[in-house]
C-alpha cells in the first residue's frame, strides 16, 4: 500500500457538491499532477461533513486543518503554499465563531436604532426592586423640583407646554385635564393610574410597571402636588402579578424614604399611594367604571358629565392617566415641556410605546418618536414578516376599539389624527401585524367575540347588538352568510356606536367597520362564493391538493398528525378526507399554496 504524506479529504456531500466541491476536487487533482505531487498527496472524496453552510469544505491530515468555502481559484495557492511549502492558507480556515470579532453595536441594530426612549428610559438598565438604582438615574429629582421650586400652576403650565396627550388611547391633553381638576373646588382630590391594560396583544403598561415602577410613582406624586391631592390609587389588573409585586415594593420603599407619605422631602406636602387590584373586566379600563370599581361597586360606566375632573372617585375631583402617561411626567418636569414638545409632529408630541406582535420577526416593546411611519415600525424595527412566502396584509392598531391599516396606508405616521384618518386609532399601543394567511372576517369575529363578552350589559345596544353582530360574523365564517349580512352589520354597528354610553360600545364595532372598509371583497367572497381568500376559515376549505401546484415535497405528509395524507417521492400528495380532522397543519406547512 502506498503511503501518502498528506491526505486531503474533500467533502462530496450534496451540500458541498451544490457549492462546487467536484470542480474543486478535480482542480486539486490536476494541479497535484502538474506539480508532480501525485505520489505524495492523496485527494479523497468523503461523505457529508455536516457543515454544509460553509461548503465546499476540506480537511487536511495529518495536520487536521479545516478549510471552508474553497473555490477553484484558490487551488493553485493551496497547492503551492500548503502542499509544497507546508504553509497552510489561513484565509480559508474555518473561524471559530467564538473568536470572530464582528459584534454589531446595539445602535446599529435597526430594532434599537429607530427607537427613542423616554417612558422606557430605564428599561433593562436598573433593578426595579431597588429604589436606590432609580435615584442613581436621576429619579425623584423632578419630584424635588416640583415640590420645592414650582407652584401647581407652573407644573400644569409645563405639562401643557409639553403637548403630552393621554397615552391610554383617547389622546386628551394631559395638562388641560390637570388644569380642570385643579380648578375644581374641593378639599379632597384624587390621583389615579389606569393600569387595567386589557387590549388583546398589548403589554406596554405591564412592562413599564415591571421595569421602572418608580417613574409612575414619581409622575403621580407630581400631579398630586399640581392638583392638590393627598391620596392616589393605581388600578392594576390582578393578572399582572409581577407588575403588582414590583409596584408594591416601589411604593413601600418610597414610603420608607419619605418620598410618599407625610411631609415629602421636607416640603410640607403629603401624598400616599395604594394599589387596587381589578378582577380583569375590560370595561374597568373605562374611567368612570374604574372609579366605581375602586369604590367597591360593580364596574359599570356612568354618563358624563360630570367629568371625573369635577366629580370622580367618591364624587371628588379626580385625575386619571394611564401608566405610560405617568412615566413621561418626571422627565417633562426635569427637562422642560419645550424639550418634550420638540419631539414629534404638529399635533402629537413626544414618543409612543407600542407592543409589537403578531406576524413580525422582532416581537417586543418599541418606543418611537411621534411621526415615525408604521412601515418603519413594522419593517425596520420589527424586521418584517417572518415567513418568506407570506406577504404583509394589515396591522391592527388599538385593539378591539381600533381598526386595521392595510398595505396602501403603511406610510401613515404615528400621530393621533393621521391614524384616525385611515380608520384606526392610536389606542393604547397594541400593534398586531398580520400576514396574508389571516382572514379579515375571522379577525373581526375574534374582536367582536371579545367585545360582546366584555360588554358590561348596561346599554342594550352594546349588550345585544354586539351579540347579534357576532352571530352574523360566525355565520359568515362558517360558510352560511347571506345576502344582506354586510348591510345588517353596518346598520347594527352604527346603532351601537351612537347609542352606547361608554367607549366600549362606541368603539366596539370598529374592527368590523375598518375591515369592511378595506377588505369588503373578503366578506363578499365568504358570503357569495363560500370561499375564504386567505384560506383560513376551515368550514370554507376543501382540503384537496392541487396537483398542478404540488411540488411533491412531502412536507404536508410529514406534518399531518393523523396520517391522513398519502405521498411518495416525486408524486403529488393526496388527502384522505375520511381521516382528515381539518387541523390545517398541511396548509401551514405547504410552501406552494397547493392545498385548497
Amino acid at each position: 500500500m502506498k503511503l501518502f504524506r498528506q491526505h486531503w479529504l474533500i467533502c462530496g456531500g450534496t451540500g458541498c457538491q451544490a457549492a462546487g466541491s467536484i470542480a474543486v476536487r478535480d482542480a486539486l487533482k490536476a494541479e497535484i499532477q502538474n506539480q508532480g505531487l501525485a505520489e505524495e498527496i492523496a485527494v479523497v472524496e468523503t461523505g457529508c461533513n455536516g457543515f454544509c453552510a460553509m461548503g465546499p469544505v476540506a480537511v487536511v491530515y495529518p495536520e487536521g486543518i479545516f478549510y471552508v468555502a474553497i473555490e477553484v481559484s484558490d487551488v493553485p495557492e493551496l497547492v503551492s503554499e500548503h502542499m509544497l511549502k507546508g504553509r497552510p492558507v489561513s484565509r480559508l480556515f474555518y473561524k471559530e465563531p467564538a473568536t470572530k470579532n464582528v459584534i454589531p453595536d446595539m445602535m446599529d441594530i435597526p430594532f434599537f436604532a429607530h427607537q427613542k426612549l423616554i417612558a422606557l428610559k430605564n428599561r433593562g438598565i436598573l433593578d426595579a426592586e431597588n429604589i436606590d438604582e432609580y435615584i442613581a438615574r436621576d429619579g425623584y429629582q423632578a419630584l424635588g423640583k416640583a415640590l420645592t421650586e414650582m407652584t401647581p400652576e407652573q407644573i400644569i403650565a409645563e405639562v401643557k407646554t409639553s403637548g403630552l396627550r393621554g397615552r391610554g388611547g383617547a389622546g386628551f391633553p394631559t395638562g388641560l385635564k390637570w388644569e380642570f381638576c385643579q380648578k375644581s373646588p374641593g378639599e379632597i382630590k384624587y390621583v389615579l393610574c389606569n393600569a387595567d391594560e386589557g387590549d388583546p396583544g398589548a403589554f406596554m403598561d405591564r412592562s413599564i410597571l415591571e421595569a421602572d415602577p418608580h417613574s409612575v410613582v414619581e409622575g403621580m406624586t407630581i400631579a398630586a402636588k399640581a392638583i392638590g391631592a393627598n391620596e392616589g390609587y393605581v388600578y392594576c389588573r390582578a393578572e399582572y402579578p409581577l407588575a403588582v409585586h414590583r409596584l408594591q415594593l416601589a411604593i413601600d420603599q418610597a414610603r420608607e424614604y419619605g418620598l410618599l407619605g407625610e411631609n415629602i422631602l421636607d416640603s410640607g406636602f403629603s401624598f400616599d399611594l395604594h394599589i387596587y387590584q381589578g378582577a380583569g373586566a375590560f370595561v374597568c379600563g373605562e374611567e368612570t367604571a374604574l372609579m366605581r370599581s375602586i369604590e367597591g361597586k360593580r364596574g359599570m360606566p356612568r354618563p358624563r358629565p360630570p367629568f371625573p375632573a369635577v366629580a370622580g372617585l367618591w364624587n371628588r375631583p379626580t385625575v386619571l392617566n394611564n401608566v405610560e402617561t405617568w412615566a413621561n411626567i418626571p422627565q417633562i418636569i426635569q427637562k422642560g415641556g419645550a424639550w418634550y414638545a420638540s419631539i414629534g409632529t404638529e399635533g402629537s408630541k413626544g414618543t409612543k410605546v407600542f407592543a409589537l406582535t403578531g406576524h413580525v420577526n422582532n416581537i417586543g416593546l418599541v418606543e418611537v418618536p411621534m411621526g415615525t411611519s408604521l412601515r418603519t415600525i413594522i419593517y425596520d424595527i420589527g424586521g418584517g414578516i417572518p415567513k418568506k412566502h407570506r406577504k404583509f396584509k394589515a396591522v391592527q392598531l388599538g385593539g378591539p376599539s381600533g381598526g386595521c391599516v392595510p398595505e396602501e396606508h403603511l406610510d401613515t405616521l404615528c400621530d393621533y389624527e393621521a391614524i384616525a384618518k385611515v380608520g384606526a386609532i392610536m389606542g393604547s399601543g397594541g400593534m398586531i401585524v398580520m400576514d396574508d394567511s389571516t382572514c379579515m372576517v375571522d379577525m373581526a369575529r375574534f374582536f367582536m367575540d371579545f367585545v360582546q363578552e366584555e360588554s358590561c350589559g348596561k346599554c342594550t345596544p352594546c349588550r345585544e347588538g354586539t351579540r347579534r353582530m357576532l352571530q352574523i360574523l360566525e355565520r359568515i365564517v362558517e360558510g352560511e352568510g347571506q345576502e344582506g349580512d354586510i348591510e345588517t352589520l353596518e346598520e347594527l354597528a352604527a346603532m351601537i356606536q351612537t347609542s352606547s354610553l361608554c367607549g366600549l360600545g362606541q368603539t366596539g364595532p370598529n374592527p368590523v367597520l375598518s375591515t369592511l372598509r378595506y377588505f369588503r371583497d373578503e366578506y363578499e367572497a365568504h358570503i357569495r362564493d363560500k370561499k375564504c381568500p386567505a384560506k383560513s376559515c376551515v368550514a370554507l376549505l376543501d382540503f384537496v391538493v392541487d396537483e398542478a401546484k404540488c411540488k411533491s415535497c412531502g412536507l404536508c405528509f410529514k406534518n399531518c398528525p393523523v396520517s391522513a395524507i398519502t405521498w411518495e417521492k416525486k408524486k403529488p400528495a393526496h388527502i384522505d378526507l375520511s381521516k382528515c380532522i381539518k387541523c390545517k397543519t398541511c396548509f401551514e406547512n405547504c410552501k406552494f399554496d397547493a392545498i385548497s
Binding site: 435615584i135 421595569a211 399582572y240
Partner: protein
C-alpha cells in the same frame, strides 16, 4: 431609614454609582439578567440560577449579579447583559442554563466573548 431631604438624593446617587460602577479595586464585572414577564416566561429564572451557581463555584467577590426588567426585544429573551470594567456591555440573547454557564466561565471569567450568542454590544443610551 430616615426620611430623605432633597440633598440626600444626590448622596444616594453617589453611593450607588460608587457601589455599582466597575472600576479599579471594586467590582470588575456586572451580570444583569433581564427578568420581565417575557424573560421569566422564557426561562430567565433558570439562567439566573445558573449564574448564581457558577458565581458560587468561582468564589469571586468582585462580580455583581443583578436583575432588571424587559429590554424591549421580548422575542429574543432570555436576555443577559455582561459588563466588564473598561469594555462595552455585551448583550446575549436566547440564553439557557448551559449557555449561561459557558458565558460565565469563558466571558465573565476568561474574557472570551461568546460571539455566537451575542445580540449586540453597547447600550441604548
Amino acid at each position: 431609614m430616615a426620611k430623605l431631604k432633597i440633598s440626600d438624593l444626590a448622596k444616594i446617587k453617589d453611593q450607588v454609582t460608587q457601589a455599582t460602577s466597575l472600576r479599579e479595586g471594586g467590582a470588575q464585572v456586572k451580570v444583569t439578567v433581564h427578568m420581565g414577564t417575557c424573560g421569566i416566561a422564557s426561562g430567565a429564572r433558570n439562567v439566573l440560577n445558573a449564574v448564581m451557581d457558577e458565581l458560587t463555584k468561582s468564589g469571586r467577590k468582585d462580580i455583581i449579579v443583578t436583575t432588571s426588567g424587559c429590554m424591549g426585544l421580548c422575542s429574543a429573551e432570555p436576555l443577559v447583559t455582561v459588563e466588564k470594567a473598561g469594555a462595552e456591555p455585551i448583550k446575549y440573547s436566547h440564553m439557557d442554563d448551559a449557555k449561561m454557564r459557558q458565558v460565565f466561565n469563558r466571558h465573565v471569567l476568561a474574557d472570551e466573548v461568546q460571539t455566537q450568542w451575542v445580540l449586540a454590544k453597547g447600550s441604548e443610551q
